[in-house]
């Protein structure tokens, strides 16, 4: 029995050592052109901008759904679009900007609805790729709880670096073809390469779901974040994501639950979700991604909203 246990432990140690070594010492060549690298550029811009500034935070709905230059020109405030990938999780997204905003700044948060469902809050495999192979300065923000949550993704990601074969397209970086690469973002952080592309194949509608149990952790976290921002003199606005109309109808009850949850935590959507529900002719390649006409429409609505909040040069009021 002793020999058996000793060999079993040795076997597990070898496996753990290989996985750990792979995580830290094997570069992920597949990520070279990945959109995740845009995080470095976005952070550079975030640090370089003088306050007051407008910082957009969210997943790919905001990356694909904004014309920051137009906002900058209209409001005469520098803008950075930090939106990248929903899989990074709201916990990471907000912590990433937390220490980089000062008094007078405006943070506009546009979380995907799916952030509130399940356990996307702490992030998934793309976050592991970002933390360990792209921008490891963010590792300092990772808590023990988040590490525990990410553990399966860390093991899976680390192991993926050992094999050259892929079973799914997402492992190729993102599976979006030409768009959603580092060089497809403009200097403001908007994914803009797709603006010149014709209509893509219309994405399939999200499957209908009824009422949901909204992740209370994310609601509490956003509430705390808002309190911190208020203390710093930073304005936080929460806007709904751009979303395909037919999916919006299918998820109507869930969206109402999310809306209610945010309201109960004193962090309601500042724009009605219906306003950002788009017909297929405004949708690019996923239910959250807008094409150029969609981007133009949404940008105008956001400008109108920010103007209604009397946002002008001089920052938030």
């Amino acid at each position: 029995m002793k020999v058996f246990i000793r060999q079993l432990v040795l076997f597990l140690i070898i496996i753990s050592a290989i996985i750990t070594a792979s995580l830290f010492f094997i570069p992920n060549k597949r990520l070279r052109n990945s959109s995740l690298y845009a995080d470095i550029d976005k952070n550079k811009r975030l640090d370089s901008l003088q306050s007051p500034k407008i910082v957009f935070v969210g997943g790919s709905n905001i990356a694909f759904g904004l014309n920051s230059k137009q906002i900058e020109d209209s409001l005469h405030l520098p803008v950075v679009n930090m939106g990248l990938h929903a899989g990074l999780g709201m916990y990471f997204m907000l912590n990433e900007v937390r220490d980089h905003v000062q008094k007078g700044d405006i943070v506009v948060l546009s979380p995907e609805y799916h952030q509130f469902m399940g356990d996307l809050f702490y992030g998934e495999k793309v976050l592991v790729a970002l933390l360990f192979d792209i921008n490891n300065k963010n590792l300092k923000n990772v808590t023990i709880k988040q590490y525990i949550h990410l553990f399966p993704s860390i093991v899976e990601y680390s192991t993926s670096k050992l094999f050259f074969m892929n079973l799914d397209v997402t492992d190729d970086g993102d599976g979006y073809g030409k768009v959603f690469k580092r060089n497809s973002f403009n200097k403001y952080g908007d994914e803009s390469m797709h603006w010149q592309f014709p209509l893509q194949k219309i994405p399939s509608t999200s499957a209908p779901i009824g009422h949901i149990q909204v992740n209370s952790e994310i609601l509490k976290f956003i509430q705390d974040f808002k309190r911190d921002m208020n203390k710093k003199g930073v304005a936080l606005y929460i806007i709904p994501p751009a979303f395909q109309e037919s999916s919006f109808i299918n998820l109507n009850n869930a969206i109402k639950d999310i809306e209610g949850g945010l309201k109960d935590h004193s962090t309601p959507f500042d724009i009605r979700p219906e306003e950002f529900s788009y017909q297929n002719r405004f949708i690019f390649n996923t239910v959250y991604h807008l094409n150029k006409p969609g981007v133009d429409h949404r940008t105008l609505l956001i400008i109108k909203f920010l103007k209604s909040k009397a946002v002008k040069k001089g920052g938030s009021n």
Binding site: F11, I14, I19, T159, F163, L167
Partner: protein, 413 residues
């Protein structure tokens, strides 16, 4: 029952036990099927009758532990074993955790003595147990779950797919169900072996069969032999004239199909296999291949290869009925295969999955004379470091290529 003073009372107790066991199965698994089928029948006669159906969750693995219970009762009735007076031992026999939800279907005569006997740790058996678990996990997580993703997509939208894609869907389902079920069995057998218990073998590399009769000797062995011992033989088996043998065989296949689920697709699947089996039975060729294919050789002959291929094709056709939600859909799926798009490439990209299936195939082929693919692996690869490298690669492959988690198919039975 064992203490009954006379044969008549013994029979009363026996049938009471059988009815209670089958009663649970009937209520939970088949009640709705019979009610719905009866209502359909009446509506075809112009009688619109509404019956209340049960809205209950099917208890996990009910078909498996019902059959454990039945085998216990029948064996006591036939004086093959003495009744187990220790409640804990009996409970372990019925609910032994590795086989509770998807078998193998154990016999009281085989498992109970092992439970009551004192067991001791044995290094080589424990190592073999771990190897079997590892191979089972590889089959389930890497092959079956990844096949499931492709198969589900193809079967869901089969009417929009080209025929080559439909063929791919059917073939991948063949691998999915094999790796799913035999993977579970490997995990169950391996876990039991770690505890010093040998369970019945459930699979013997069925896709290397040269005819349908051999396939059924290698597929879900514990169920097939259960039906043979507790239904086929009591019905008279192959004793008597050919007609009796054919009738009994047909009954076994139909019941076997029905055992899988309360759906006409399963019954048809059973009947289909019966139809394939009959010519072999009539010609007396159903026990032609009782040994391993190409025994002692590395490669099969051309004839053996052709036989294996044809058997596989026939089995795959049967799986379409097993997988389809209804008979009309199954027939529609099958007929859609025969179109000009058979010569186009499938729309699904399965290159890596194919490589993994080839790896599975090669390993199982090389080890086909063993009970499972990694059994006594030290005889196959003598140098321990190389064996360890292969084990490590398997573990990493399970982590890396693990598909979207899917429930074991046989949990529903």
């Amino acid at each position: 029952m064992a203490d009954a003073p006379d044969k008549r009372k013994k029979q009363v107790w026996f049938w009471l036990s059988i009815c209670v066991n089958l009663g649970f199965l009937g209520v939970f698994k088949y009640y709705n099927f019979f009610i719905d089928s009866f209502a359909d029948f009446l509506s075809k006669l112009g009688l619109g009758v509404h019956f209340t159906t049960l809205q209950v969750i099917l208890p996990l693995g009910i078909s498996f532990y019902t059959f454990h219970g039945l085998s216990y009762v029948i064996d006591i009735y036939n004086d093959r074993i003495k009744p187990e007076r220790n409640f804990v031992n009996y409970s372990v026999f019925v609910c032994f955790f590795p086989l509770l939800v998807a078998g193998p279907i154990e016999r009281a005569t085989h498992l109970l003595p092992q439970i009551t006997r004192k067991r001791s740790f044995e290094y080589s058996r424990a190592v073999d147990g771990l190897r079997q678990i590892l191979w089972g996990l590889f089959k389930k997580i890497v092959i079956a779950d990844n096949c499931a993703t492709v198969v589900n997509e193809i079967f869901k939208n089969y009417h929009t797919q080209g025929s080559s894609t439909l063929v791919l869907g059917a073939v991948l389902f063949a691998f999915q169900i094999y790796c799913d079920f035999s993977g579970y069995s490997d995990i169950a057998l391996g876990a039991a072996r770690l505890l010093g218990i040998e369970l019945l073998r459930n699979f013997g590399f069925p896709y290397f069969s040269r005819d349908i009769a051999e396939f059924w000797r290698r597929w879900h062995i514990s169920l097939t032999t259960w039906f043979r011992d507790y239904l086929y033989i009591p019905l008279g088996g192959s004793r008597g004239n050919k007609f009796h043998a054919i009738r009994n065989t047909f009954i076994i296949f139909l019941v076997s199909g029905f055992w899988h689920g309360a759906n006409w697709t399963f019954i048809f699947w059973g009947a289909y296999h019966a139809a394939l089996f009959m010519p072999l039975l009539i010609l007396g060729r159903n026990r032609l291949h009782t040994n391993s294919v190409a025994q002692g050789k590395i490669l099969p002959t051309f004839k053996e290869l052709t036989q294996m291929f044809l058997t596989f094709v026939l089995v795959v056709i049967g799986w379409i009925f097993f997988r389809a939600p209804s008979l009309p859909i199954a027939f529609d799926y099958l007929s859609s295969i025969f179109s000009s798009t058979i010569f186009t490439l499938p729309t699904q990209k399965v290159t890596t999955l194919t490589i993994l299936i080839v790896i599975l195939f090669v390993v199982e082929w090389l080890q086909r004379e063993k009970k499972f693919a990694l059994e006594r692996f030290e005889d196959f690869i003598k140098f321990r470091p190389i064996r360890w490298v292969l084990y490590i690669l398997l573990v990493l492959a399970i982590i890396r290529f693990g598909g979207k988690s899917e429930t074991f198919i046989y949990f529903q039975f």
